[in-house]
Symmetry: C2
Subunit: 229 residues, 2 copies
DNA sequence: TTACTTCACGTCAAAATGACGTAAACAAAT
DNA sequence: ATTTGTTTACGTCATTTTGACGTGAAGTAA
């Protein structure tokens, strides 16, 4: 190993997670109430320091498992944050990741950390510690642009879903109205989804057909348009 | 400061640059021939370690200035690389940035590092040290998708340029043919460029009009379409 | 003048989009 | 059994955008 290579002082390296969940027509983010300084009793994004022999995704999994009890979720690197004053303890670089999960798959509230971990509507966020407000904002913006051309929305829904449910998800995330009939046409023409032949039973009105995500979909084969007027 | 916060061993943090330049209808990347181990005599992306009080962009500027003599260039964060074996000296995280420059603004070749620094056609790249092949590939892919909806192409051209020059740039980067008349229509309809009223003189044939980038352009107001058949 | 090339602007059929209409399917109330 | 109210599924159609080309004007060199 080269001389004095590791004798330089290095910044610490943290991974911070923006965990999105969708439920009841609401897009939420999972926050953690810190028990230690700095930002004791403040809400923050779940995060942790990178271990020497760990990949980013390894750190993500460890954080998800230990702090929220979740595993096997969609993860994507967001951005790396280098603000000099972002952590009062010293120089800490944060690599931001965002996760998309279906809250129905997990049972966050019932854990031992009942009061420490909580879902927050993205429109009703508390003040966040560190620079986590910036990280959250960027993640939300990324999600909004991403669902327009990439089928990440499915990560937030059940495996089987109706077109209406998918439509509501898009309207919720994009915070706009999208014509229901044109949306259906786009989704179906692009072969974005596959009709399973089954229907969702037990609803008030006409039983809608259940679809699943078309995993053989070729990349960049579709584009949702939104009036940004 | 909290107890033992900086006593953990931290990975080193490097910044690696993919510097794109466009000249003579060729997209090139600036590479550095390493003088030290590891990867001595190998071509690599210019890079350097993040100093404790430095931002990523600060490191980028320092690398650009000391290793290539350039300053004031377009820079954008690409991705962070965490491969466990990416540096034989130990654990090094790399934050990748890419730069878009107009080589005409600088004089790389004539520096003291004449043999150390060289432009390579993106199609004629040598074998690269570290995981720099991956970083380069991702940067190229990012550039290709970015110019379709964001006017970054202008960073590679002179301040004044003709529609034909812009058209050739797009064809070069996207490695495809784009109908010249439809391209012109798209660019003009989107008010992507402003006609300066002047013409480029001294050419063989009809003197084309010179345009400049419309800096008041609203984001996401245009989309170049390419046949990916 | 002629020849040749590039530039600037048009044309037009086909495809995509945006804005709606409406009948069928279902549960609950009458 | 019929009606009512709602959601789902599938259309229609005018307008806009796209893709594929045509062509005259501007310029240089022969």
């Amino acid at each position: 190993m080269a001389k004095s290579f590791h004798e330089y002082k290095n910044p610490s390296l943290a991974v911070d997670l923006v965990i999105f969940g969708y439920h009841d027509n609401t897009l939420s983010v999972l926050l953690l109430n810190r028990k230690e300084e700095p930002f004791k009793d403040c809400w923050t994004l779940p995060g942790g320091f990178l271990q020497m022999e760990e990949t980013f995704l390894g750190t993500c999994s460890r954080i998800l498992k230990t702090k929220t009890g979740m595993d096997d979720v969609y993860l994507e690197q967001l951005y790396s944050f280098d603000g000099l004053g972002r952590d009062p303890r010293g120089r800490v670089i944060a690599v931001g990741y965002y996760a998309l999960i279906n809250p129905a798959r997990f049972n966050i509230i019932a854990g031992s950390m009942a009061n420490d971990v909580k879902w927050f509507d993205v429109h009703k966020m508390p003040k966040l510690g560190f620079d986590h407000q910036d990280i959250f904002q960027l993640a939300l913006q990324r999600l909004k642009s991403k669902i327009l051309y990439d089928p990440v929305g499915f990560e937030l829904l059940d495996e089987l879903f109706t077109i209406t449910e998918l439509h509501e998800l898009y309207e919720c995330i994009l915070e706009t109205t999208i014509d229901r009939r044109n949306f259906r046409r786009k989704i179906l023409d692009a072969e974005y989804v596959i009709n399973t032949g089954t229907k969702r039973e037990g609803l008030q009105n006409r039983h809608p057909e259940l679809y699943k995500f078309n995993k053989k979909l070729k990349k960049n084969s579709f584009q949702i348009n939104v009036n940004v007027s």
